[in-house]
């Protein structure tokens, strides 16, 4: 059963997650999602700007405090058109880690609103399908007709698919719009003055190699950094990766993934903050996968970094799933962490 008042607390968050997952922003083409986040954030920081790679930076100034960078990537994986067949079918390459297994029958959408369905050629027995065996059908009868709607080099994303059932939400691109929602909520609900200078960064091109975070951390040169992103869970039947992490048991404090071994002092600070306000949390050891902290901590002379993760099932599919309570817990943890003098 849900707690009384849960809906009041969650309505705003739910709406934000729905809006954020309703927009597309494949790596390198983050215009739409960036302008939405920009509008949401505008009223709250002391300064807001966009850099050359398209990272959106919102600053809460405090020249006397330590500089803390919070990074949530706003890009999502996508499918880039590489070739158009004479009969109007589109061939494509993955942008980021696309899982071929879930492509057949998946609905996608291009920036200009053109939608399509992914089909697959017949496979030989025991053949596993490479990406070149799939195509997008946008209903065009010929190459010329297809070219009127889509150009080579344009990128489609999964079709918006938001749905919520109690505290659990499923949608495309919860990786990492869930993190963007968390960061926006923190930005909107911080006390007027903080003991630290905080940079809220909505990064570009995480899915293709943590690229936006690399340049933005070089520019901002922070003392500490935290990535806010999603992580896998091990709570489904015969999970692909066994791990001690579940939906709804609280946000995860990352210990390590393939891209970063989180700095022990940052991890301890996060654990202490969670314990101070009694927020349940989990500890994350992710064997495969990375996050923005991976490039941030290697910036310049090194940046002690950590990550706050939102447990998420079915990552990189059209139906990712998170529990809003975990976002809410992450929100409380992060606010407490920022009230702390670093």
């Amino acid at each position: 059963m849900l707690e009384r008042g849960w809906f009041n607390k969650m309505t705003e968050l739910l709406k934000l997650v729905e809006d954020l997952t309703g927009l597309s922003g494949p790596s390198g083409s983050e215009e739409k999602i960036r302008s939405f986040i920009r509008k949401e954030a505008e009223a709250y920081g002391d300064e807001l700007f966009v850099d050359a790679l398209g990272n959106l930076i919102v600053v809460k100034r405090n020249p006397d405090g330590k500089k803390i960078l919070l990074a949530a990537h706003m890009d999502e994986i996508g499918l880039m058109v590489t070739f158009i067949e004479e009969n109007g079918f589109l061939r494509f390459s993955p942008v980021g880690g696309v899982n071929n297994e879930i492509l057949s029958g998946t609905k996608v959408i291009f920036d200009n609103g053109t939608a399509g369905i992914i089909g697959r050629e017949k496979l030989k027995e025991k053949e596993t399908a490479g990406i070149n065996r799939f195509y997008i059908d946008i209903g065009a009868k010929s190459k010329d007709e297809a070219l009127e709607r889509v150009k080579i080099g344009e990128t489609a994303t999964f079709y918006p698919s938001f749905h919520h059932m109690g505290p659990r939400v499923t949608a495309k691109s919860l990786d990492n719009r869930a993190g963007c929602a968390l960061l926006l909520q923190v930005l909107k609900n911080l006390p007027a003055s903080l003991p630290n200078e905080v940079y809220f960064v909505f990064t570009a091109q995480e899915e293709v190699g943590l690229r936006g975070a690399r340049t933005v951390s070089y520019r901002l040169n922070p003392d500490y950094a935290l990535a806010v992103d999603v992580t896998r869970t091990g709570d489904t039947p015969e999970p692909e990766f066994k791990m001690d992490l579940a939906l709804g048991k609280g946000p995860a404090i990352k210990i390590k993934d393939s891209s970063v071994i989180c700095h022990p002092t940052v991890v301890q600070r996060m654990i202490r903050a969670a314990e101070r306000i009694n927020v349940p949390f989990q500890l994350e050891v992710l064997e495969r996968g990375g996050t923005d902290a991976g490039s941030i901590h290697l910036s310049r002379e090194g940046v002690p970094s950590g990550a706050l993760s939102i447990p998420c099932r079915y990552i990189h599919t059209p139906g990712e799933m998170v529990d809003l309570n975990d976002i809410e817990g992450g929100f409380s943890l992060l606010v407490e962490l920022l009230k702390d003098k670093w």
Binding site: G234, K242, M243, D244, I255, K256, I261, C262, H263, P264, V267, Q282, L283, E284, V285, E287, H297, L298, S299, R300, E301, G302, V303, P304
Partner: protein, 350 residues
């Protein structure tokens, strides 16, 4: 302290990638009498700095990684055994029967068990074991274990340092504590030499997970040239001759695209001049050492690589010859003593 006892001391200390803090503090103490300044950076890299004499001294970086490969707890099963993943590259076949120290809320000893041959099913016999089938056994009851050893606890392999015949020594983490010992030997030699160059010796962190410490330490130092000191495969029965170097025949100077040819040549010339034994090796790509990161830092840093031959890499019985470490330390000291501004400037003249 002599080389043997220094290497023994640092081999038996633990410093798994990402968790080098205590080891770094020990090294800071050990190096401080030999150098002018000791510093730790944001990620825990330890810098041991020696001033040069004269104006406009060349800046030389020597880099040996202090981290060792290790294990990390991923979950506890329903009976109180711990599943784990690795930090750095372990061959799972080398793990059964090893003892570990788990750095939980307090240190806890454990060992890695294995299903006895008697109980193995037909299809399991003769098969290489996978990491996911291994587990750490601490003997602690479940509730106590959960309290003391949470998910994310790091574990180091336990192994006493062994003195074998002559100058042969074996133990865990000699990849790359051998390199740290080379730095120590070099610092000792430099104390009685005059050198123009400023020397930044670095005990770097997180090499085993992707030369991460060297990425940031090179940026911080901005050296004119950087030499990584690491280990390479020593020869043993069954190894192809072209893939290994014999022990006791001196450190190995690497050539290849990762290495500035004039640094390798100068190391060679220095060895000839001081009659120190050295061997040669050729590496066609970016080497799997800190030299890889050093070379592509900043505007590009001319890189060198000197390696100590070592058998059984990434096991707990890594074996080497102390004399190779001594020769390497001396070679680097003489190399540094002879470094001039004009040599360093020549590195960017092609």
């Amino acid at each position: 302290m002599n080389l043997h006892s220094f290497l023994q001391e640092i081999s038996q200390k633990d410093g798994v990638s990402g968790y080098e803090d205590a080891l770094g503090s020990f090294l800071a103490g050990a190096f401080s009498p030999l150098v002018d300044e000791v510093k730790k950076d944001n990620l825990g890299n330890c810098f041991f700095y020696k001033r040069g004499r004269g104006e406009d001294p060349p800046r030389v970086m020597l880099c040996a990684h202090m981290d060792e490969i290790g294990l990390m707890v991923t979950m506890m099963d329903e009976k109180g055994f711990l599943k784990f993943t690795s930090l750095g590259g372990f061959d799972p076949r080398t793990l059964p029967g090893q003892e570990v120290t788990l750095y939980g809320r307090e240190p806890v000893y454990g060992l890695i068990g294995f299903k006895p041959a008697h109980l193995q099913k037909e299809k399991e016999k003769g098969k290489a074991v996978k990491m996911e089938d291994l587990f750490i056994d601490t003997g602690l009851p479940k509730e106590e274990l959960r309290e003391k050893v949470p998910v994310g606890t790091v574990a180091a392999i336990r192994r006493n340092f062994l003195s074998l015949q002559g100058e042969c020594r074996a133990g865990k983490a000699l990849d790359d504590r051998a390199g740290v010992a080379v730095l120590w030997q070099c610092a000792t030699e430099l104390a009685r030499l005059r050198h123009r160059a400023e020397v930044f010796m670095v005990a770097s962190v997180q090499e085993e997970v992707g030369t991460r410490g060297a990425v940031v330490s090179t940026f911080g130092i901005a050296p004119d040239l950087g030499i990584a000191i690491d280990v390479c495969h020593g020869s043993f029965p069954g190894a192809a001759e072209h893939e290994v170097s014999p022990l006791g025949k001196g450190p190995v100077i690497t050539y290849g695209p990762n290495i500035h040819p004039r640094i390798a040549e100068k190391l060679h010339e220095t060895a000839r001049e001081y009659q120190l034994p050295v061997q040669k090796d050729f590496s066609p790509g970016p080497t799997g050492t800190d030299a890889r990161a050093i070379q592509v830092s900043l505007e590009g840093v001319p890189a060198g690589l000197l390696s100590i031959p070592l058998r059984y890499m990434h096991t707990s019985v890594e074996l080497l010859d102390l004399e190779d470490i001594r020769s390497a330390g001396r070679l680097l000291a003489y190399f540094i003593a002879d470094l001039s501004r004009s040599f360093v400037e020549g590195l960017s003249c092609f």
